[in-house]
């Protein structure tokens, strides 16, 4: 894995290395070690199951950011054919942090929109780490409206550490661009499926996140603020991000429970980066299922349901809410 691994992946990596060494040794010396290798392979599988069945929220955040995790273009290339990428917002620039274009899934034409991160330093800078500027949200909207007019369903892949916070972004109206997308996505007359494949940070993610189905890959996260941002606000220290990740309840399992997403898309054991092809195949099946169901609906009904879906979200009480007892004794007693 080219030395790119997370702390908790280390034991697996060590075992993989031993297996490889043994294989190399066996073939060099023409020794029969297949039984030993098999045993080690089994041990590795058990270890994988073991580690990945009890990940903390912070570990999932790390997996969502794994250097080898498939990005939007990887998924687009793995699940579609004849992809034609389209560029530009027709007003200011072509934001490289988001890609979009027509493609075919099993022969069916669709519009893909995805936030795109880079893998090496040069690519990361080119893609601005997947952080969109206002022109990115406007580019996405232009393409989505094009899809709406040509009757092609829209498949969105969300993977961003946030909308870019910078001077230019503010000058060109980051807030307006996101707000407009939120409203306009409710008016697009084609099915929209939202798929959180990596990071779903706040308004930056939601800005292309309105749809008829919202799915999350098992090890992705989606939250009102990044764990680092939350930690900086709560504890004036971004190093408490693991604690913030727990507090924010940002995992796919949390969001399913909070009724914010429709389904969790399970990843291959060990995470999508261990088998991108399989991860893409699983995601493709889920998208096809959604498209099938959604294309049954009349447009009016589709749009009505889209608004109702988000209308329902939130938790509050209409009774006088009985607050639990205080967490700590009040200050200055007496």
């Amino acid at each position: 894995m080219n030395g790119q691994y997370l702390d908790f992946e280390k034991p697996i990596l060590d075992l993989e290395k031993r297996i490889q060494d043994m294989k190399d040794f066996a073939s060099g010396e023409s020794l029969e070690l297949s039984r030993e290798i098999q045993l080690l392979e089994k041990r590795k599988d058990r270890l994988l199951q073991d580690i990945y069945s009890k990940l903390t929220r912070w570990q999932r955040v790390q997996l969502a950011r794994h250097p080898l995790r498939p990005h939007s273009l990887d998924y687009i290339n793995l699940i579609s054919t004849d992809f034609v990428e389209l560029h530009g917002d027709r007003g200011f620039a072509d934001d490289k942090a988001v890609v979009g274009g027509f493609g075919k899934i099993e022969g069916r034409a669709v519009m893909f929109i995805g936030q795109q991160k880079g893998r090496d330093t040069k690519q990361k800078l080119y893609r601005n780490f997947g952080m969109m500027h206002p022109e990115g949200y406007r580019k996405a909207l232009r393409l989505m409206q094009l899809a709406s007019r040509s009757g092609k369903p829209i498949i969105i892949l969300v993977d961003t550490p946030g909308a870019f916070p910078g001077i230019g972004a503010e000058e060109r109206g980051q807030a307006e661009a996101i707000a407009r997308n939120l409203r306009e996505m409710f008016r697009l007359k084609v099915p929209i499926t939202i798929n959180i494949v990596g990071e779903g940070a706040s308004g930056g993610a939601l800005g292309i996140g309105i749809g008829d189905r919202v799915l999350m890959l098992e090890n992705s996260w989606y939250s009102v603020i990044s764990p680092e941002g939350c930690s900086a606000i709560l504890w004036r220290d971004s190093s408490k991000a693991p604690l913030a990740a727990e507090a924010l309840k940002l995992s796919s399992f949390d969001l399913k429970e909070l009724k914010v997403i429709d389904r969790i898309v399970l990843e291959p054991v060990g995470g999508a980066h261990r088998n991108p092809k399989e991860a893409a195949d699983i995601l493709k099946r889920e998208i096809i299922k959604d498209l099938g169901e959604l294309s049954e609906l009349e447009i009016e009904e589709l749009l009505q349901k889209r608004i109702e879906k988000f209308r329902r979200m939130g938790v509050f009480s209409t009774e006088e809410y009985h607050l639990p007892e205080r967490g700590e004794p009040p200050e200055n007693i007496g």
Binding site: G166, I178, R183, G209, L243, L323
Partner: protein
């Protein structure tokens, strides 16, 4: 110099935490020492530099609505703690303290009122309640205010004052941006006017949803307006921010605001705009 010290029991109500509680106060912007009664008479605007002090939601009701009257709705919606949020102070305690401090049940008041005889569905946010942050209750109340506009076919006026989405309700707060914007799509299609009034500050999740979606957007002078917080931007780019960055004047300059309106002119401006925005048959 005893003069300038704030007396322990000032003449103004002790509950007005956001508002200086002494006889005299200092302007945050120009440093001018101002007699509080004068300031109050001047709608909490500094007579020297025109700085608009932050006022409470109830003050805007007084300022904008005929006879200062609002037929309030949904005041019974109360925030719960769906995430069991772990923080230095527990979220239910934060809610309890804010309710006690402000006398409000959450960070927005909504209802029906009249602006120079034109009936509107009205909402006004209050920064005193956890920074005017939007959680499930704020989102729901704003959503219902939009629905009242739709049902009664009356314009919507929302006065925003918010630091953004409420962190303690996590993803549910983020989804309130979607919820309110979805209903605004309906309002837009129904051709019902929406005037968004921005006050200091309006940022992040509120700015990036309904506050930016007015048919006409106006702001008080020198308000902090924007998406990302200035501190975050500064950390990201690693340099000082230009003066006047993210102010009402900056927003106007870059085309994201229709007009800057002084507090004393707010009511008549909103009223005139309503007159222009409403279809001819309904103006009377």
């Amino acid at each position: 110099m005893e003069w300038f010290k704030k007396p322990k029991n000032g003449l103004v109500s002790q509950q007005k935490k956001e508002i200086p509680d002494g006889l005299w106060t200092k302007c945050e912007s120009c440093g001018e020492i101002i007699y509080v009664k004068e300031l109050e008479k001047n709608l909490w605007v500094c007579h020297r530099c025109n700085f608009h002090f932050r006022i409470k939601s109830k003050d805007y009701i007084e300022l904008l609505l005929d006879e200062g009257k609002l037929e309030e709705y949904d005041n019974n919606l109360i925030s719960t703690d769906p995430l069991k949020f772990k923080d230095s102070k527990r979220y239910p305690d934060r809610i309890r303290d804010s309710r006690k401090k402000t006398g409000l049940n959450d960070a927005v008041i909504v209802g029906i009122g009249k602006i120079e005889n034109k009936e509107v569905s009205f909402g006004v946010m209050d920064f005193g309640f956890i920074g005017g942050s939007m959680g499930s209750v704020v989102g729901e109340k704003v959503a219902r205010a939009i629905e009242r506009s739709l049902e009664r076919k009356i314009p919507l006026v929302i006065v925003s004052c918010s630091g953004g989405a409420r962190m303690q309700e996590g993803i549910l707060s983020l989804m309130q941006m979607a919820k309110t914007s979805g209903l605004l799509a309906k309002l837009y299609d129904a051709n019902i006017p929406f005037i968004s009034v921005l006050t200091n500050p309006t940022t992040a999740g509120v700015m990036a949803s309904y506050a930016s979606l007015g048919d006409v957007i106006i702001a008080e002078p020198k308000a902090l307006l924007g998406f990302a917080g200035p501190r975050v931007i500064q950390q990201t780019i690693g340099q000082e921010l230009p003066t006047g960055f993210q102010s009402s004047e900056f927003f106007l300059e870059h085309g994201f605001l229709d007009k800057i309106v002084e507090r004393k002119d707010l009511k008549k401006t909103v009223s005139l705009l309503l007159e222009y925005l409403l279809p001819p048959a309904k103006t009377s």
